[in-house]
């Protein structure tokens, strides 16, 4: 792969594996492949794994006596993985209503970027984004692939209450707020989908390595989907 992994102790019962600090889809696959191999081997002592762009953090259920032994085991496992991809990824279609009522910052954004609202919506919804990982808030997707034309610095003063479902752009990223929260991104729409449901296990239907594509909907459809979700009649579309 042309790079070396760094294995280190993070605390008494966790091990950090680091790849070079890049945002890269091939590397993401390497990270997630390693994660799924570890999960498949079902190390009973590993109770949780966090993956990000270029790291895996493995949390054990008790203190690790000998880190070097553990590093060796993991290194052997990493090297033994064959070239075939374990990773199965899905592409989810996510409805977004970009109408003014849901897009409090779209006017300002359109003016500042000198792009029509229609152009912004087109550019935002034509990309297939990669889910690199979930973090920040439960169910918050770190998406890669935002068109550089849409990059826009975060607000200087964050909003204290961004509504659940808000679809927003901040810097080089776009994302969906899975719950009401403070946030400094520019809100351009809202999705009626429940991205995080703690009553279900797993609580997210999307996972790292999956892909998402937004599609614009009218407010009437937004309300219909919302009702369908309430009565459990909504099925998420995949490509």
């Amino acid at each position: 792969m042309g790079y070396k992994l760094r294995f280190s102790q993070y605390n008494e019962r966790s091990i950090l594996v680091e790849w070079p600090a890049n945002i890269d889809e091939n590397m993401l696959h390497d990270v997630l492949n390693f994660k799924s191999i570890i999960e498949l081997k079902s190390f009973k002592q590993i109770v949780d794994i966090i993956s990000t762009y270029a790291s895996l953090l493995m949390i054990y259920n008790s203190t690790i006596d000998n880190f070097n032994d553990e590093f060796s085991t993991l290194k052997v496992l990493y090297k033994s993985q064959d070239s075939k991809k374990l990773l199965k990824s899905k592409t989810f279609r996510i409805p977004v209503c970009y109408e003014d009522e849901f897009a409090m910052d779209l006017d300002n954004y359109s003016e500042a970027k000198n792009l029509s609202k229609a152009a912004i919506i087109k550019l935002h919804s034509e990309t297939v984004y990669t889910v690199f990982f979930i973090g920040f808030l439960p169910g918050f997707l770190y998406l890669g692939g935002l068109n550089p034309i849409l990059h826009f610095d975060r607000k200087e003063t964050p909003n204290l209450n961004v509504k659940k479902g808000s679809v927003a752009i901040g810097g080089k990223q776009t994302g969906i707020y899975p719950q009401d929260s403070p946030g400094g991104w520019h809100i351009i729409g809202n999705s009626p989908l429940e991205l995080f449901n703690p009553k279900q296990n797993p609580p997210c239907f999307i996972k790292a390595g999956d892909k998402v594509k937004f599609y614009p909907i009218a407010k009437s459809e937004y309300l219909r989907i919302q009702d369908d979700i309430k009565s459990s009649n909504f099925n998420i579309e995949t490509l």
Binding site: I59, F133, F140
Partner: protein, 281 residues
């Protein structure tokens, strides 16, 4: 059952936390001071996973509705049963209509009430720990009725256990190097370890901020995993010690990592308390 007459400043039901869901961004949560809460559970012969009541800064007032046994540990909030002073760190029988109350905080910051068999709050994703965005109840409130297990002891009692109360006044945090420790200059590393800090007023279950600001020029990192006990350093010099309700990933350099024991120790600290840092190899 116990009825909540007063909730106290910030009281929640907590257990050992939510494991196995961090890849969906779910915070682990769980008791802030694992040492104290485990002690209370052990006194009653409870399993370590039994949920306890965690009270911060001021205590709750609870009316018992069923007979049971309780144990109180952690910070000294001068507990009383029916207005009479009771001892901490031992098991105490309570009967219906008994009123458990707490007075002034005399040391530490968080007090734990364990009940025989454990409290039975809503279980979400394998844990009873109350957490914003995860459980419906985020903290206990007046008029709540706290359910608990009525089905006997699970393990023998440990009546002879002794609680190390000096632990509540301990001001030394044992740490190891964080993944970005080496990005600091040698002089900065030495200063970070030796200068000492104070707990700022921004301290809660998510994080403790420390004072004074720590001069540095570290750049943000590519968002990476963090854990409770991770010490992040912002470009403005703010040291942030992540605690049990912290997010799962972060973008600030992770300069130090608290040991499990030190997380418990820090969780007993209050605004203005002084802290020293001791680097383990």
């Amino acid at each position: 059952m116990m009825k909540v007459l007063k909730a106290g400043f910030y009281s929640t039901i907590q257990d050992q936390g939510r494991l196995g869901h961090r890849s969906y961004g779910v915070p682990v949560s769980g008791v802030m001071d694992a040492y104290s809460s485990e002690f209370a559970n052990k006194l009653l012969g409870n399993k370590i996973e039994a949920a306890v009541l965690e009270m911060t800064m001021t205590g709750a007032e609870l009316q018992c509705l069923k007979p049971t046994t309780i144990a109180i540990s952690g910070a000294h909030m001068n507990p009383k049963l029916n207005g009479k002073v009771i001892e901490m760190f031992r098991s105490i029988s309570v009967k219906p209509d008994d009123i458990l109350s707490f007075g002034k905080l005399s040391n530490g910051f968080r007090t734990y009430v364990a009940v025989k068999g454990g409290f039975l709050s809503e279980t979400v994703l394998g844990s009873r720990s109350m957490a914003k965005g995860i459980t419906e109840a985020v903290r206990i409130q007046r008029e709540d009725v706290l359910e608990f297990n009525l089905t006997g002891l699970l393990n023998p009692k440990h009546a002879k256990l002794k609680f190390n109360t000096s632990y509540l006044d301990d001001d030394v945090l044992a740490v190891t190097k964080g993944p970005e420790f080496d990005a600091l200059t040698k002089a900065q590393q030495a200063l970070l370890i030796n200068q000492g800090f104070q707990v700022s007023k921004f301290n809660n279950r998510m994080a403790y901020q420390l004072l004074p600001l720590f001069n540095n020029n570290l750049k943000p990192i590519l968002t990476a995993p963090v854990l409770p006990g991770t010490v992040q350093l912002t470009p403005s010099g703010q040291l942030i010690v992540l605690m049990r309700d912290c997010q799962t990933t972060g973008g600030y350099p992770r300069v130090l990592q608290l040991t499990e024991k030190s997380i418990s120790c820090l969780s007993q600290k209050n605004t203005g308390n002084h802290l020293k840092i001791s680097l383990k190899d």
